[in-house]
Symmetry: C2
């Protein structure tokens, strides 16, 4: 039915495993079918691989669009209507080759160095687990989610809406760790986290190292996380330890985190200094431009995507406010001329989580442009259009994220 | 580490798959290890099967204690610290052989008959999905969870603490369906749900049919659920459609539900009339005895279970109030002489959900009897002892549910 995800899981349920459908979804036909389901013009790209790379082999292939070995997007029809995204459907985006599985063989022995505090110290995950623990629901979203909607052809992975998910993270509150080490040094302005990936040889480390600085205001909610959806944080998603900054874009949630420093300046590596900077089309990135930190208010419809049926249709979607709780979600069936308030579905997991929504609509035969618009409790609302920018970051315009649904 | 689950998942993460440990957990040694982890005297029973039955083959073998082909319990050290139980770790308890997978091949076509309303009607799941939708977090717990702690040897599956989990159920509110059909007939006192299992031949249907009546007050929260943890409800757990009565014992959550009737009387089938009745040891079951409906307030420690270490230990557990929100959770390290208030961990998913809890304790070498005691917002608190009853139902006494932990 239009209002339910059409993808089929493999192992979940013997009765669900439909070989013909699975075959349809893993070949060229599948790629086309998946792309068409996105409600956007199919993008020129090679055939998707039939299988997932080893480090992500445990994920649900039929729920993903594989852009490359390091970039996999959740299909729009596989996002679901849940308050939490099942781990095996979550998107994947790695900046560097994934470290060997050996780093999660003895998780509690993993070490992270804490610097820029009164008493700098190297702590193991085992140590961190004794300092404190918290579980926070937060949306993980790539800065470029929605890039495919930019007409100027912004470079980078052509994410549609599926580079996002809502995850339950478990770890120690960063502020508890910092407090245990005497607090930040005077004048600390940023929290700078460094990933533990092995850097490719022959390249200037500054051009490839994953190291991100976020303002110290993020300390209130940041976690050093070892758990995801009540399981040990998978290697695929940054395990054994990841810096989680609730409400901040994905890149700030540094994987395999090896070093956390309170610093007066932002790091000068490329991923911070010139990448993930919002600037006009054609401009180069530089430190004076806005960095991709707090996420903006956003929503999109997840079902139906292409066809509805005469009569009652349940319109589903997801909405979130970044670091701010949501006030309301509205849906329009006529491309934004008239709006109706939709209803949030399921428990509220907090300000950083997304909220699925649903609207019951009785539709006559015809074509409908279905769009959604979220508003947070500070009055921020999604704009109609997009802010064109060189790299296609932070797109939360409601118009481009709409879907055209035919009811017959 | 003591404060983390020691079970290892298979497919989740290449780095997690430890063959030697997996072997340890699937043979006789594994059974013994698992039982000893329960903190109770090992029970006399045959070796556990190495594999799961086909209808449950997708579940995480290492997280389960297999009592029989129809009864599998979540290991105490696999319950985790999450607000939601991952589906592949949830316990399984079927009263009859599982229907064929063919019944979930076309889910939306499944039919349920609604009777005892002004306008009785047969509806498909497709129809139900157009009436309304809600997602509710609720603890699913077998009436006999804790039966293994009764000294008189209550008959039935010897569940320890693992016949329980907290699930996100998605479906249509029963009251929306009833309202659409004109409301209940006058004098309706019970909601009687019937399962769609094929009954074994040669037996009086009344002795085997799964049909349960709950008071009409349950209509306020009951769902006809087609989804579990944002996936189609697995056949293993009652898919394609299950009656979910939040806060009520598992047996009332009728699987493969085919008929829902508003009735003046409770059904007279055995599972209602004489089974699931609380009575003194040695007595036979009868309709005048209390039926297993609303769950009582309960909690138990999930980690550590046997050994801690000198210094800081994080003590984890889960607590729930049945149909009532929790007020507080207390933990005692000395078998109930002194109590400390523990902290709830993670977002509150509502009155029917469980809440993980944690207490940081600095322990010197020695032996500790760790027990937990939950209190709900109506002032109901777990008793110290158990109420002995023939079938070992509804045990929420804090003493038996404690664990003895050695710190060296």
């Amino acid at each position: 039915m239009a209002q339910q995800p059409t993808f089929q899981r493999g192992g979940n349920d013997p009765g669900l495993d439909n070989p013909s459908r699975r075959n349809l979804l893993v070949g060229t036909a599948g790629t086309m079918a998946a792309v068409s389901l996105l409600g956007i013009t199919p993008l020129a790209r090679g055939e998707e691989p039939k299988t997932l790379p080893d480090y992500a082999a445990w994920k649900e292939r039929t729920a993903l669009i594989v852009h490359s070995a390091n970039t996999m997007e959740t299909r729009r029809d596989a996002i679901g209507q849940g308050v939490v995204t099942p781990s095996d459907r979550l998107f994947v985006r790695n900046n560097l080759p994934t470290p060997p599985a050996s780093i999660v063989a003895n998780r509690d022995a993993w070490e992270v160095r804490i610097e820029g505090v009164k008493n700098p110290k190297t702590l193991t995950i085992g140590d961190l687990k004794e300092i404190g623990v918290s579980t926070v629901a937060s949306v993980l979203q790539c800065s470029g989610n929605g890039r495919a909607f930019f007409p100027h052809g912004a470079g980078g992975t052509q994410w549609s809406v599926g580079a996002a998910g809502c995850i339950l993270w478990t770890g120690v509150p960063l502020k508890d760790v910092v407090e245990a080490l005497g607090g930040p040094v005077d004048g600390a302005m940023y929290i700078t986290s460094t990933g533990g990936e092995t850097l490719p040889e022959g390249l200037d480390p500054k051009t490839v190292k994953v190291e991100r600085s976020v303002p110290t205001r993020a300390m209130e909610s940041a976690l050093l996380a070892w758990g995801m959806n009540d399981e040990p944080l998978p290697l695929t998603h940054g395990g054994p330890l990841r810096m989680v900054v609730p409400g901040y874009y994905g890149v700030n949630n540094v994987k395999y985190v090896k070093n956390v420093a309170f610093t007066k300046e932002q790091t000068d590596v490329k991923i911070q200094a010139s990448s993930y900077r919002v600037r006009d089309v054609g401009k180069k990135g530089s430190p004076d431009q806005p960095s991709m930190w707090e996420m903006n208010v956003k929503s999109w419809v997840t079902s139906p995507l292409t066809s509805g049926r005469k009569g009652r249709n349940m319109i589903y979607g997801v909405a979130f406010g970044g670091t701010v709780s949501l006030d309301k979600i509205e849906v329009s069936l006529d491309g934004g001329k008239n709006w109706q308030q939709a209803r949030f579905l399921g428990p509220d997991l907090g300000p950083y989580a997304w909220r699925p929504f649903v609207l019951a609509a009785d539709l006559a035969p015809g074509e409908y442009r279905i769009v959604s618009r979220a508003t947070d409790t500070k009055g921020n609302s999604q704009p109609e259009g997009r802010i064109d920018n060189e790299r296609g970051y932070g797109h939360n315009g409601w118009s481009d994220h709409g879907v055209t649904v035919t009811v017959s």
